[in-house]
Subunit: 381 residues, 2 copies
């Protein structure tokens, strides 16, 4: 990434912390959200600042393990550890929390997390059946709206919800435009840069400012590309990373892939392509929110055909040469699902496939490096 | 256990295998059930034989690990392994399978299991809210009834359901009467004997015969007790085992506890006291089934106050001296919940508490023995 962009991002991250503090002093509420299924539109419609709180760093995990089992997903331990140690400014800013029963580990961790801040947990169905799961989920979204209204003292009208949907759709469009730059061959952006920009802009209190910034950066990269600038050789294998979400601090696999000469061109995860959906602006806003969020193809859904459909599309659109499936340690749903994902990638797309299970620590970095280098050698350009 | 009882049990287990084969030849259907949430009454009402299929042996786990992750609950791996290797007669007998989305691991394993036999999965809610989870669950029970009707060609009437509820209530009453023998001080039955009788009678095709046998055995043990016979010293610490279900083959912790001089007097698990509920015979049968099954206090429920309530009652009723909480490796819900269970046992009941996480193998037997012996020394009689 160019130094100017890096500096601008860093400066805006720092300014954003000050902005949030000032907004809170003026009475604005901050809502911490866990997991992609928790609808940020409800927070935006209540005039609150939504902040994503899933932990992506290793530091607070040791403290979390005083209460949580060691054999648990590092993302869950990191999230709890940040709360327990008070070391995440975004958690400290949060007036209350919204989460959902995504997976077994998170669901049970939230019981303990509720000791720190008021917490509302949406009951997430375990499939996406439009005749049973969807109406149940719509009621859950309504209950969550009621909780946010009570906590903020703001009445969330349909008009406010529709405006929130439009704003969030704009944000997701900007993120998608940025991600889609990597469809260019050779890609003008590295996976680490893509991740860094998406991660850093994800905490901006001023959504409009964040959207402008993403578009500015994308335009600059597109301009560089038109002048033939690209970070990797044109022969670099184009890798799609699927599976669990990643963020700064839980990025070792991306770093290893790109250090070994691969280019991560697409993230098929809820920190990447899964989150750039568009919510229908033409129907009842709560219904539209419920429908779109429930359709998120996370491995907690059973069956999860949506993930195969999305992978199928992304493998073609991003001209992918190989697929790496990342599972956080002890994430059972992604871990079990990997068997069928591997079969799909290898049999239908005839592409090399690598499944990695790891955590946020550096303990297995050398083993991973060896496996990743061997994998990239198999990826024929 | 007296040799006569042992022999009788063994002989009836062998006869039962022949009975099931003969019943199948006459056109009777066999339904394999996973997990306590799957209502056996629906199978009984359809004139079919319900068989519990959750794996309790280590042998088939290696084969399962060719498809499933190693870092997964041994019960799940054992269940899948029995199917994949064809080594469980009860699985082979099953014409079709009924399961539910209890936990992440099972839910995703069932996707792979459905390759072997027709499988219906009930969508289990993740809490027990009477206004949202219960009506959703009732619909799931109805769908399951429809599936069993289509598979068996039998129409399940309310009259048949009510008769099935009465029969299963009788079975559960018999099982409860057997378990309640251990309330006598000193207990006239060891935990291993209790487990063996419950496990072996759990596969009987002829429910009425099984009920009679349990009552006969209980009467014999009660008679022995009245003559002062009991397997342990009157000073043996009375242990309550809580947590995951156990069966023959996954019984090492019970064996170790009793070899070290403790007497396991109560199983607070779905292989023990959680399953001896009574279904209301006075209301609509499907509603009664839905209500009672949903109230099962498994750790997959969040919150799971019912487990604390049940523990509270059992600790008093069985005059318990110490509590051991057993978690199968990587069972996140029991593993995370153990933190609050430990606090409850130690703070409210002032009893020694030991949390063990293990699998079905013998790899950690010596470590467990040391920990269990040290724990029993803390248990003051």
């Amino acid at each position: 990434m160019k130094t100017e962009i890096q500096n601008k991002l860093q400066q805006m991250v720092e300014q954003n912390l000050i902005d949030i503090e000032e907004a809170k002093e003026k009475g604005k509420k901050v809502i911490g959200l866990y997991c992609l299924y928790s609808p940020a539109e409800l927070a935006v419609a209540a005039g609150a600042i939504p902040l994503p709180l899933c932990g992506t760093r290793n530091d607070p995990i040791q403290a979390a393990e005083e209460v949580l089992p060691r054999n648990l997903c590092p993302l869950i331990k990191s999230s709890y550890g940040f709360a327990a140690t008070g070391t995440c400014p975004y958690f400290r800013f949060s007036d209350f929390l919204v989460a959902d029963t995504t997976c077994d580990g998170k669901k049970k961790m939230y019981e303990l997390l509720s000791a720190f801040k008021p917490l509302h947990v949406l009951q997430l169905p375990q499939n996406q059946d439009p005749s049973s799961a969807l109406p149940f989920w719509l009621e859950e979204v309504k209950k969550c709206k009621g909780f946010i209204e009570r906590q903020t003292g703001v009445s969330i009208t349909d008009a406010k919800l529709s405006a929130a949907i439009r704003l969030m759709n704009q944000e997701r469009l900007a993120q998608k435009a940025l991600m889609d730059l990597a469809k260019i061959k050779p890609s003008p952006i590295s996976g680490m840069d893509l991740l860094t920009i998406l991660f850093r802009t994800g905490f901006f209190a001023d959504k409009a400012q964040g959207i402008r910034l993403i578009h500015e950066i994308a335009a600059e990269i597109r301009n560089d590309a038109s002048q033939g600038m690209h970070p990797f050789s044109p022969h670099a294998p184009r890798i799609l990373l699927t599976g669990v979400p990643v963020g700064l601090g839980s990025d070792k696999v991306i770093k290893l892939l790109e250090a070994a000469g691969g280019n991560v061109v697409c993230f098929e995860s809820c920190s990447g392509y899964k989150k750039v959906f568009q919510i229908d602006e033409t129907i009842d806003p709560l219904q539209a929110i419920a429908e779109q969020y429930l359709s998120t193809p996370c491995s907690v859904m059973s069956p999860n055909q949506g993930r195969l459909d999305l992978l199928d599309r992304l493998i073609k659109e991003f001209s992918v040469d190989g697929v790496v499936d990342l599972t956080w340690q002890a994430c059972h749903t992604y871990n079990v699902e990997s068997y069928n994902i591997g079969k799909f990638v290898q049999e239908k797309h005839r592409l090399p496939f690598l499944h990695l299970e790891t955590d946020f620590s550096e303990a297995d970095t050398e083993t991973l490096r060896v496996r990743i280098e061997a994998f990239l050698e198999m990826v024929i350009k």
